[in-house]
Symmetry: C2
Subunit: 618 residues, 2 copies
């Protein structure tokens, strides 16, 4: 019996030829389409919904639980529970797959920096009876160095010899006392690869090693998302599936490989022109990328396999750049304060601040480092993936169609902005914060977190606002976009439980900050600066973040968004040897504060839950 | 048309299935039978002769030139010019393929030595809420080291994690500040691989890293011999054949791989138990092994690609031991005084001698280092492959059947000893030196190098001797073994030209030594010691070496054979960090003396040619 059939994915038009029953998310992944599974494929978050245009099978129990009957009729199914054994055509909406772009910072002054990789155009004199130094020793001499002062791997030696056979001019990339790679004379650039391995997005930039500028950058969904939205679900995946850890490793390495391909194509170089790499990422990401089982990071006492720098060859971590290139990964402080936090701390000069400065990387796992005068306290708060869209009814990532800003006018009219100006498809993190800030301001969300109902006793809402405060499926909700304006033809709403989710995140972050400040011996008000890092921070409005209390109540002037600081730190580590030394020093000097084990944690957390009082009628 | 046919090699019984016309030496190599081609396959040395028992093709021009008609009739052909297009049965005699064994030295006292690799049985406490150090940092703590004081490659980290998941006891191999490898608890040994990459033989030993003892050693023909007997012919092969350098690399790496297989089988460990390697070899061997084109070593100004140490991973040089193992290769002085000479210098403590000491590595390329009080002069003399059997009519390597000792009694009777007590098949280096020493003593070889003829005017030879001094093919010759006693049924002879060959070697070595001593400001008689290294030295009789003047005329007590000193040095570099530091210092401090460019070289060489006066009638 012939059991072969085709699955076509829309709007890509990619076709997967199945030879038997197949999981849809695997078939999609095989065609380069990554469907996220924030809950780890347990059928509980509903974020992996796809629409089966032709050939929809009967709904699963999870489908019936999480989808509306009319959605099921229209062909919507949860990809995580969707297995097919016959031809189908499936639409994978962007909400299920997009990744936000990340920046690696702007201009960079390299003057006076001790360079990591020195790219030099050399004129290597030919050997002669008067100069019988070896090839490598003659290279050393061009740099004013003694015989044997430069070393090289066998492959680099072979490369050098091949090149010198054609002429005396070579372009050389040197790192420390090592000749990493050599190239034929045309004076082209050599690049370093700055990598930010995020749980959600992988981002990388090619940095021109001669000037430190970003020649190209790109990001894409971390292919690991198919194994779970956050690090915890991926760790569980690794722990519970034979070969799971290896699959996580392949996924993230494949993703990085695809980015490298994209980047080198974009600027017209080859992968051999990329002669160094520096990586930032949280401990789970760095462990899985290095090929190390992350399982222990997920169970008490949450301890990783190492904490120092990695300095290895590209070939050792399957990174498709020059195989001899040295790959650096930042050190970590503890299992949940990782190479990304250290990288960001370097980028933000936390080792040079003279007033207490708090760096918070807002993400699924939020990490905070409080620093002053060479003292560092670090903590991590499992904020959960609310700001990434998971656990929020209509949550989505900062992708086209996502509501990223919300304003309520005096007469109760609501205006929303969407990324790309598309009809609203859902709400992303910054939209959530905005919406709640606005609802707090007009009193529709109470400091306790309660979302008001239209018919609330004695309360008169402006007409437009009252109509939007209506229950959905028995839950209080606020209509952000009605059926006529939304992308799906369904209302896009913010529910009471959504507000609670944000409140929990805000509470855990504020509690963490409070405890960190207490350990440091200062009050929250003593903070000289709060630096908000992470892609999410880029889209956030400072006033809204302060309004909902996501950030401690200090002078807004002292709150700064520092963008993808981890990525900027990785870029620095490519061009500035001292950035690596500083990272080492920060990691060595930092003290880790275990929030959950703090005696008063519960009390402080409960106290941190309340939203600030809104400015009534403002 | 079916062109397939079989070639059977004897006495192995190995069968090669050809699909078309094939070079016999390649077919043999494909079946693991390595036929040497000392002249590089140019059809000029005649050493690759094999006997085609069935299916002999017509003789080639080279066959007719180098073989006797009756040999051709018997099926003998030169393998280098033998192509077959039909079934055949071919005998490959041991003279065409054997390799001599090499020793890696005896007992070694490791007390007080700073070890290169530390093998430790560790009890790594589990992580707990009271000890949240990472796995690697807890390993460091067992060694009294601080957090992040030990580093590890990604693969080693993965290995460590996998192991700690099963229990707290691990066996760890540490090198410097790096964790190289970890193993399950059973307290077995870890090994280092000492490698001596000789032009002719590859030799390697597994050294127990806990005690420094040799657990097993083995040697085999360097598979590169099929591309030429000496380094010069191999360099030419690399220079003149596309892909030739790569073929040399594969050959030597394959050969080392086969030795590793043999060794680990011999002691019942696995290749993963071999966690370090140290290599000695001449510059051409080290270049080709590292994958670097050796061509520049063969043309003026004879300059290599590097001169320092190599310190890389096993995987980078295709060595099938633990892929994370670090592989060390000794530094070189110059293109023809290489890692083998430095290794031998360390083994012989040349940096600790208080009287002028001369180390000579007798081989195809003889290298000499003269040392005293931290001053080193090095030189190399292209002695040629006479002592390996090439260029000598019945020359062969020190393999079973080779005449390795010769004595002439007072009544003119000649007794020869052969390796393994077999019927004489040829004569090896030590036999040559012995034979000439004896002939000098009885006056049958003049100090000028002239071999006497039986009918020499007025000269009366004892009967036995006179009968042996008879021309062969128009050349003066001395019969070492007659037809009735020899292996082939043909006489084994020493010819006048053979004596000249040895004289040239002796002359070039003595000239080198004379020039070195002159540079050093001493006379040859001031030498406190002469150390003879190399496999060949092991078989040499000291009195004979002195008698023919191969060694300067000093008190025989001051002449010492030090065996495979390069191999012993490699073994030291596995267990003694200071051996590496000493090698570095010797290579740095050594001065290279270019013999050929010495103003008086020709004159000194000519003067060095004469043999010492024999003790007449002794």
């Amino acid at each position: 019996m012939d059991t072969a059939f085709s699955i076509r994915f829309e709007p890509d038009g990619q076709v997967y030829e199945a030879s038997g029953p197949v999981e849809v998310f695997l078939a999609a992944a095989a065609r380069g389409i990554l469907i996220e599974q924030p809950c780890g494929g347990t059928g509980t978050c509903g974020k992996c919904r796809v629409r089966v245009i032709d050939g929809a099978p009967p709904p699963s129990e999870s489908d019936r639980h999480l989808l509306e009957p009319q959605e099921i009729d229209a062909g919507w199914r949860l990809a995580c529970h969707l297995q097919l054994d016959r031809p189908a055509r499936i639409e994978v909406p962007s909400a299920a797959r997009s990744a936000a772009g990340k920046s690696f910072g702007g201009a960079l002054d390299l003057a006076g920096r001790r360079r990591v990789v020195r790219v030099r155009m050399l004129e290597v004199p030919s050997a002669s009876s008067g100069n019988q130094e070896s090839d490598l020793d003659r290279v050393a001499a061009t740099q004013g160095l003694a015989r044997r002062a430069i070393t090289a791997s066998p492959a680099a030696l072979a490369e050098l010899r091949t090149l010198l056979a054609t002429g005396p001019r070579v372009r050389a990339a040197l790192q420390g006392d090592e000749l990493i790679a050599t190239f034929p004379p045309p004076a082209a650039s050599c690049f370093g690869l700055a990598v930010d391995i995020g749980s959600t997005s992988l981002a990388a930039a090619l940095v021109d090693l001669s000037c430190g500028e970003v020649a190209a950058s790109a990001s894409r969904l971390n292919p690991q998302v198919v194994f779970g939205a956050d690090v915890i679900s991926r760790i569980h995946y690794a722990a519970e599936h034979a070969g799971g850890a290896a699959r996580l490793t392949s996924a993230v390495r494949d993703g990085l490989g695809a980015i490298v391909d994209e980047l080198v194509k974009a600027i017209g170089c080859t992968r051999f022109d990329v002669v160094a790499a520096a990586c930032a990422g949280n401990p789970t990401m760095i462990h899985t990328w290095a090929g190390v089982d992350p399982a222990p990071l997920g169970i008490a006492p949450y301890v990783g396999t190492w904490s120092g720098e990695i300095d290895c060859r590209a070939a050792q971590v399957g990174l498709p750049i020059h195989p001899n290139a040295r790959v650096y990964a930042f050190p970590m402080i503890r299992s949940h304060v990782g190479a990304d936090a250290i990288s960001a701390a370097v980028a933000c000069d936390l080792d040079r601040v003279s007033r207490p400065t708090l760096l918070i990387d807002l993400g699924t796992n939020s990490e905070a480092v409080l620093a002053e005068g060479g003292r560092y306290l670090a903590a991590s708060a499992a904020a959960g993936p609310a700001f990434e869209g998971a656990t929020i009814r209509h949550g989505m990532r900062a992708a086209p169609g996502a509501i990223d800003a919300v304003a309520i006018t005096g007469d109760g009219r609501v205006s929303v902005n969407t990324i790309g100006g598309l009809p609203p498809a859902g709400i992303c993190g910054s939209g959530l914060v905005d919406a709640i800030a606005e609802l707090l301001r007009v009193g529709a969300v109470a400091p306790s977190g309660l979302l008001a109902a239209a018919e609330e006793g004695g309360r008169h809402w402006p007409d437009g606002l009252g109509a939007r405060l209506k229950p959905v499926n028995g839950q209080r909700a606020f209509i952000l976009a009605d059926q006529s304006s939304s992308a799906s033809g369904e209302e896009v709403v913010l529910t009471g439980p959504d507000v609670r989710q944000v409140q929990l995140v805000k509470g855990s972050i504020l509690a963490g900050v409070t405890i960190l400040c207490g350990h440091f011996g200062i009050g929250v008000a003593d903070l000289g600066a709060i630096l908000l890092a992470g892609a999410f921070g880029n889209y956030l409005r400072k006033t809204s973040a302060l309004a909902i209390g996501l950030v401690p109540a200090i002078d807004p002037e002292r709150v700064r968004f520092v963008g993808n600081a981890a990525g900027v730190g990785a870029r620095l580590a490519l061009v500035d040897q001292d950035a690596r030394a500083r990272a080492h020093a920060i990691a060595s000097d930092a003290e880790y504060v275990e929030l959950a084990s703090h005696a008063d944690y519960q009390q402080i957390f409960m106290r941190s839950l309340a939203f600030p009082e809104g400015r009534k009628g403002g």
